[in-house]
């Protein structure tokens, strides 16, 4: 097998028969799909369908009971090969270190691995923050930021790694519609400017339809459909139809005073 190529800007992913149970309860039931280099692949589904668990397996935070995940044909279990790939996960909560300010959070990867001198790290961190439209926040602490700002700082922190694969866990959850649009645009901009492979987990239909090259629909630990936005929108599967058309309606039986 060829040696990992860390110079490419994006990587392909192949997941084969991934299974995981917690306390005997299956959460992933044989997940299989592929993501092409530079693709924005959205995994959509209702809460509790196993989307975030799947992301944690891809980044290596969880170990599957069975099945394999390949990045450019190298198993993620091969730690030596994985050391050559740069991957980043943008957590649902942002997961910024509360004891560090924004600048220290964004430069953390470079600081801890001593990849650049301190002045260079500061310059890169400020550049990434400005790239995401964040000015004058570098000295603030995560507790002083709004939800949308936290998410953008988390994306800036991920960008510092210059990732070949970037994973987003519910990037628009807890955000108002306008902030959600901003985050969606950031993901698209990144895709255009950096050509990174992106996997986005979300239950936000608007975000998925706005950014996805392809969408996988996940339900109760299984992928029930994969396709382009148009294919998913017109898919005949009843669960997909119900998920995409779920809307708030006043209960017709409720009696008005």
């Amino acid at each position: 097998m060829s040696a990992p190529d860390s110079s490419t800007q994006s990587v392909s992913i192949r997941i084969a028969g991934l299974r995981k149970s917690y306390d005997g309860v299956p959460v992933l039931k044989g997940i299989t799909f592929e993501v092409q280099r530079g693709e924005t692949f959205v995994i959509m589904g209702p809460s509790g369908s196993g989307k975030s668990v799947l992301l944690k397996h891809i980044i290596g935070l969880e170990t599957p009971d069975s099945g394999e995940i390949f990045i450019e044909e190298h198993s993620v279990r091969d730690e030596a090969a994985m050391a050559h790939y740069r991957m980043a996960l943008v957590f649902q909560s942002g997961a910024l270190l509360n004891s560090l300010n924004v600048l220290e959070n964004v430069g953390l990867y470079l600081t801890e691995h001593r990849l650049k001198p301190p002045e260079e790290i500061t310059r890169i961190a400020i550049e990434k923050l400005e790239f995401l439209g964040l000015k004058n926040v570098k000295d603030r602490f995560p507790g002083e930021l709004s939800g949308g700002m936290k998410k953008r700082v988390a994306i800036a922190r991920a960008l510092v790694i210059e990732p070949q694969l970037i994973l987003y866990d519910e990037p628009t959850s807890e955000l108002d519609p306008m902030s959600a649009v901003v985050i969606g645009e950031e993901i698209l901009n990144l895709q255009k400017r950096v050509h990174v492979t992106s996997i986005v987990v979300t239950h936000d239909r608007d975000l998925a339809f706005g950014i996805a090259d392809r969408i996988a629909m996940m339900y109760e630990g299984e992928i029930i459909a994969i396709g382009t936005v148009a294919e998913i929108k017109n898919h005949p599967h009843p669960i997909i139809h119900r998920f995409l058309n779920a809307d708030f309606k006043l209960n017709s039986h409720r009696e008005t005073p």
Binding site: K56, I59, G60, L61, A83, M87, A88, L89, F91, S93, A95, L96, L97, N98, S99, L108, Y109, E112, H113, R114, I161
Partner: protein, 248 residues
């Protein structure tokens, strides 16, 4: 319980193996040293002053009745440096610093900050555990040294000003110098270094295995402090036996 002990030993072993990385983490060690010293020195000294005083108060009159008031210096000196200062400071530090360690690491675990470190290939043991265990192992013996000196002074004060004892400072410290040897002080410092490793390991481990929300963090802090104190008191007996066997 055995699973916890096993996990703590594994954590300690991994921390020892990470020791060569300590130079990289020196800034965090300085921060922790400042945190421990700044938070605890005054409290340690106040505690030691009164412990020395109460030992003198309890034993002085009894010794004085039997015409042994001159022996009080040695008794206070030995009991403080070999037993009371290391154990009481360890208990104080587990409550003051160990709880903070467990809470901080526990909250980082609950709010996915530790997962974020792992995704950046930053080893949480190097980043979080190593600086804390090294800092507490350096600082607790220093605090104990302060506590020993202040405890002796507290004992001396009571011996001088209590009318049932009423000996001079000179007599108190002459006897202390005759009885207490450098080895006795080193004995206490060695104990405190072992207790520091126990506090650091138990509290960092409890933080790392925290699950749930704020309630989980609270549970971890309680377990960390209680387990540290129980382990310190059990270990104290065996360490004392071991060190006494070396003296023979």
């Amino acid at each position: 319980m055995f699973q916890n002990v096993g996990e703590m030993l594994v954590l300690l072993w991994r921390t020892i193996r990470a020791l060569p990385h300590i130079v990289r983490q020196r800034q965090k060690v300085y921060d922790q040293l400042f945190e421990i010293g700044n938070a605890s020195l005054l409290m340690a000294c106040v505690l030691a002053l009164f412990i020395g005083g109460v030992i003198a108060l309890q034993t002085g009159p009894v010794l004085a009745e039997r015409g042994l008031s001159s022996a009080i210096g040695g008794l206070v000196g030995l009991s403080i440096c070999k037993e009371l200062a290391p154990v009481m400071m360890a208990v104080l530090i587990s409550g003051r610093i160990g709880s903070a360690m467990a809470a901080e690491i526990g909250s980082m675990r609950v709010y996915q900050e530790i997962d974020a470190l792992r995704t950046m290939n930053i080893n949480p043991i190097h980043y979080l555990v190593l600086p804390r265990i090294v800092a507490i192992t350096v600082s607790l013996p220093i605090l104990v040294l302060f506590a020993i000196l202040v405890g002796w002074f507290g004992g001396g004060l009571v011996a001088v000003f209590n009318e049932k004892i009423a000996i001079t400072f000179q007599s108190f410290f002459m006897n202390l110098r005759l009885v207490v040897e450098l080895g006795d002080v080193l004995n206490g410092l060695l104990k405190s270094a072992v207790f520091a490793v126990v506090i650091g390991t138990v509290c960092c481990h409890q933080g790392l295995v925290t699950i749930g929300g704020p309630r989980g963090i609270g549970r971890s802090v309680t377990k960390a402090v209680v387990n540290s104190i129980v382990l310190i008191l059990i270990l104290d007996y065996f360490l004392t036996r071991f060190l006494l066997s070396l003296e023979k």
